[in-house]
Amino acid sequence: MSRIIGPLARLATLALLLALILKPDWFVPVLKPFTENGAPVIYNQGSLLSLTLYHLGLVAIASLIGTALALVMGVFVTRKVGAEFLPLSRSLVNIGQTFPPVAVLALAVPVVGFGLKPTLIALVLYGLLPIFENTITGLKEVPANVVEAARGMGLNPTQQLFRVELPLALPVILAGIRLSVVINMGTATIGSTVAAKGLGEVIIAGLLTSNTSFILQGGIIVALLAVLIYDALSILERRVARRTGRLAEVAG
């Protein structure tokens, strides 16, 4: 749980990111050496800001859907009625993770067409695993005597789940969501191959015209976004963990 970057480094990263998106011209001297034959140094086929927002929106929607799906599945297989579905669900989720997102795109496009839909399908499938597994782990780690006490006080199964089990599992579930979001940040770039708007466009434009500067621009913005989001979610996680007394237990 060690903080990956300190407050100062966090600010610096954010500043660098904003500069790259809003004032790309500032970076001409740095990126110039990566272009040949007088090709444009700075991506010029659209606004970097709108591509970044599209990219974030895509990841946000995919993560929301993925989280909802994985949570429901994770909760279901840890209930008595759903226990027998655990192996099956686990296999499905694992296939989602091992099947290459590019292949998912290739299979999905003929069915749902180009654009946002096939990309969302690929991202959702690819990001399920960490949330699903962490939901199961988090729920199983809730101390048995706390659940016993909840039952003994007369909480019904729904009340036990929402008032006791999920709140106590939340830090672990959040860690899964954080992992999934960061994976999706990077994976979302492939959406541009099927015409979903996003930062992948910058990278692909660079690949098509052999313009390394474009590739660097797109790649670095995606990487910085991922780092900042990872960091922000880590902070949130620590807050939640501290509130549930978990962190204090660990720290003694």
Partner: protein, 312 residues
Amino acid sequence: MIELEHVSRRFGDQLAVDDVSFSVERGTITVIVGTSGSGKSTTLRMINRLIEPSAGTIRIDGKDTASVSGEVLRRGIGYVIQGNGLFPHWTVARNIATVPTLLGWDSSRIAKRVDELLTLFSMKPEEFAQKFPHQLSGGEQQRVGVARALAAEPGLLLMDEPFGALDPIIRAKAQEDLLAVQQRLGITVVLVTHDMEEAIHLGHRIAVMDGGRLLQYAPPAEILARPAHGFVEKLVNGVDRPFRLLSLAPVSSIVEPGTAEGPPIAATATLRDALSELLWHQRDALPVASADGTLVGRVSLAALRAHAGAAA
């Protein structure tokens, strides 16, 4: 009053509780004692239907517990478990408010009740109400656990090894607290322990279990004086029987007319305390004083010896 009639519970091939019948008088403490795996917890948990009996009937105040839903039943029965099971993400106040909240009490009534209970367990509300369980000592956590169980004013309190995780000094204090609270509120308590000493100290009646069967159900003095042949005998031989018998009765029960030299003993002290004082001051008799300090007679070594020897 709680009545268990021919209650059994089977797990697969195993009979965890085997045809157990006993009844618990209102306002008394019954202690279920036995070795690990003897079926104590299973018996206790069948009373609030955390476990359903495989056979038999359990009635509380004449009403079959199977006639209401498990959740409704449990909201009306206090339940305390080893290691307290407090909700770590809730404050002390919210933990105590668990059942009143489920029952839909209004918030001012809940707040008043939380203050009342914290005060009853000598914890200042303004200091403790907003703390989280991990900020409390083991003894404080244990008291909050009992306070939470008593929050909705249940007439019955079930406790499964409630003092098991406490060190000896805190444990003794917790036992005294329980006795005081039980007397003050007049509640019925069924408590599970594997410690015969604890059973004798706390119980008005003791149920000794082994291998799922109820071997003997009697007041502590009778268990000590006339243990059932076999397992109970072995269990009781482990504790200092004469001293135990002495600790069950107050000095007032054998006070005799007359006077004696030396520091007076309170009439409410146990015979064991009296013996200790007599030995310490090297006397054959000591004066006995009532609560207001007037001397009411004397207690003698001979009378103590006669009382402790009753078992032999």
